[in-house]
Amino acid sequence: MLSASRASRAVWLWMIVGLVGYFIMPWYILEDGFFSFEWLDGYPFDTDYAPAAFLIAQGEKLWLAPLVLPLLLPLVVIGNKDRQRFSTLLIIAGSAGLFYLFAQGFAIGIRGFNAEWLGVLFGELGDRQFGFGYGAVLLCVAFLFYLTTGVAARGYINGDVFVVGAIGFIISIVAIFIFFPIAQMLSSALRDNDGVYSLAVFVAKFSENKIWGLACLSENRGCGVAWNSLFLAVIVGAATTVLGLVFALVATRSGFRYSNWLRALTVLPIITPPFVIGLAIILLFGLSGTITQWVAGVLDLQPSRWVYGLPGILIAQMLSFTPIAFLVLIGVVEGVSPSMEEASQTLRASRWHTFKTVTFPLIRPGLANAFLLGFIESMADFGNPLVLGGNYDVLSTEIFFAIVGAQNDQGRAAVLAIILLLFTLTAFYAQRRWLGRKSYITKTGKGDGGSHSLMPRRVMWPCYIIASIWVIFTVTVYGMIIYGGFVETWGLNHTLTFKHYITAFAVGVNDFGLHFKGSAWDSFWTTLKIAATAAPLTAIVGLITAYLLVRQNFAGKQWFEFGTMLSFAIPGTVVGVSYILAFNVPPLELTGTGIILIISFVFRNMPVGVRAGIASMSQLDKSLDEASLTLGASTWRTFRKVILPLMRPAILAALVFSFVRAMTAISAVIFLVSAEYNMATSYIIGRVENNDYGIAIAYSTTLIFVMLSAILLFQLLVGKTQTTRPLTQSRTNVG
């Protein structure tokens, strides 16, 4: 049978990959990184750089020897006609290989055996090992695909090697990079400072007064951080929802000619690093802020630090997240079929009555959705509270200080992270379970002629007023950001200067050619490099996941979907904490590398790629895939030749947005950066902490413009694709 030979070919391919991993690539992680090629010096005999086979040949790390058995086991059955035997042996080889690989990895660490009972059982080892390197990873990949090919040969999903492999791959990486770190964090929260498991310690840490205290109700003291976060998130969720609705109504139903310009606002949060709004708020309302000084002058008051704390965070988050609510609600408001409103009007309802009884009830689920999104964003926000928090502690910053501060209490950070995760997951769960079923989006695509009726007048005017105030405010804030970079010292000396830009981005010429003298260049190039590496990986993982979700049916698909979208609800600070807890020891020893940054971006931004992929793939007629299949193309060929080319706009969108999001991310990054791999955002935060606002603002402005040009370039490219291929049935839909 044809598919049998396809499975055999797959086994050959993965065996070669495994052999390369075992015999050629350095087995352990390389301190200077793979691409420095430092390791070529001494390869293949130096035990730090040697492949597994060379280690064993030299009598080192003998526990790696058994791995060769499962690697070569498929040779027995390759090309075998008996599918049952073929699949059974592959499944055995794959799972035994994976099991042994991880078992030895977890059992033997940098201090020999990781657990005492192992030493008792096998005798003292007197040897140690570091984290997995490329060799181990390749072997791991080979075993994984042995397993999936074996499962496919069993007839799962019509025996489709590619689809089963893709499912196995996505499940594995989600398990390793989302679930494993979270599990590590849980286990770390359950241990006391000596590493002994203790429920009492956990309960004590969990119910601490600093977290749940209600002092603010009775006396003039702060409440616990959990209440602070919750209170803030509820207000921000509600406020952004109201503002978002106002904007959505103005944009779609005011008949206001330039309302399309409002849509440009939705780009702002994407290209603005999260703490930049906070910086602008300081420039306006801080102790030496423009407005504070002006008001103090006019009213003859002592300028105060009132903005630091709840008011400041609130303003900054409302500015940051209103566009997100707007983006959600504009879809909802447009989704209400005009024919329903027209029907209502022909039934003699007035505009106000129609709005009250038809339009508003239809968009109500969308409002709840926007509220929950705002809630999650506010909970997860790290940059603004860090810059503006003052004495108002919230969970996300508290986690950070538990780790980097004098306390360095990982257990406490883990407990706080779990509380934060519980809040966001509850909101996420509510959003999916409760609202998933209640969507009233009435757009069907056909027979929905007519245009939206205008708002009733008594709704229109308040909307106009609120929207105008907000637009003026936003423009001021962004004006401040640009202007602030050119001011000598804010509040003291308002002389215009290029000083900050020169300090950050000076370029000189020396004997070796161009020389990037500015202090920001290092982090800038690192950021570009890491964001540019993460973007294609995010797009690939996102699109494959989207393909599986839209085009394939398999048991447990809902869980698969939930797992892949879950990382959306995991706040960056939680990711940061869980990653340093999970990935600082072998076998997955990644802290301090650029790889951990890339991985964190890939999984943080995966939902963006998945949603872009789902949106565009659902618009591709499924019969295109089926036509390709009945013409004898395999699913892999179909994916490559039919689906991918038609999804070019979605791929570009996923690329650009994961790139931009990687450039603006701060919350997870700040835990994961190292001296060697410093990112732009953490560099800026460092400047802010030194009260070096000039450089911080100049750098932020530069980032905003870099990302703006990335997005404009993208629009240009997508526009072009659509004119050359007019029939491309897909529409870009960046969700």
Partner: protein
Amino acid sequence: MSQSELKSRAASVEFRDVTKKYGTEVTAVDSVSLQVAAGELVTLLGPSGCGKTTTLRMIAGLEMATQGQILIGGADVSRLPATDRDVSMVFQSYALFPHMSVLENVSYGLRASGQKKKQCIERAEHGLDLVGLAGYGARLPSELSGGQQQRVAVARALVLEPQVLLFDEPLSNLDAKLRRQVREDIRDIQQNLALTVVYVTHDQEEALAVSDRIIVMNNATIAQIGTPRELYEQPADRFVADFIGEANIIDAQITAVDKDRATVIVGNTSLQLDARGLTPGAAKLAVRPNRIFIQTPGDDAAGLAAVVEKATYVGDRMEYKIKTELGELFCTSEATDQAIDTGKHVTVQFDAVGPVLLPRGS
């Protein structure tokens, strides 16, 4: 060019007790057995939701049978996915790849099967020639009319010389005038190349016109298999009688059966009809609307007394709804110039050969 000549490798299709279930609740196809001989054009006909498209997709391998065996050319392909079956399909939406030129579309399957590029192009061009689109290869599908796109889809499926060619409602996106033309083209190609074709439609006229045999499906099972004439003139049951061209189902009484002829009393008239194995007693009679003759009184013909309830002029004929002692009847008349007004009293006669007895219990 002899090398690129399209050959027929037509093979038979057989279903043995095939069942398709979605989840545990929905049974789309319920233990269906059928046979399609090599070189035959068989239509699956039925109302929407009857399981005809699922049946077609199971032949293609796009759906897997829950139970039973599917054989193509005598080989069991039940577990084989679409990719590995030697079957091509023409889709309702044509499913032309919008990012590929016409030639790339037609040669797609040849390329996928690993043939040399030059040979692929040669054969694809021959395929386009066959459907009358030589010289259109460089265009994008969007630059063709609906009918031309349809023919590209046919060419794309043909050039693979499949054992079985499947059509899923291929005419439903064409306008009425084009339908007849394309239908005849498909039939010509099928007969010239002696292809095995399975064709799905819900349009009974299209099915009657194009098929060697028709399989009528209803509620996930086969209602009747037969040639177009058999289905129309000897429907197996009430459903088939009514679905293939409308029919009036009338209560009748068989008074006597002599050899194969039955004497049937309907109201006050008596007919001599094919007995179809029935014995005397109560029976149902199916009568096509054009087999009922309607006359104005004064023509002094015997027959059933009736009143015209509604008369509708539809261009080439008159449609009447009349009320008789047997219930309401629907009949047509080509005498549009002598239309009968609503409320008129008329007499009704049945054609001597048209009416057909339905088996009991149907």
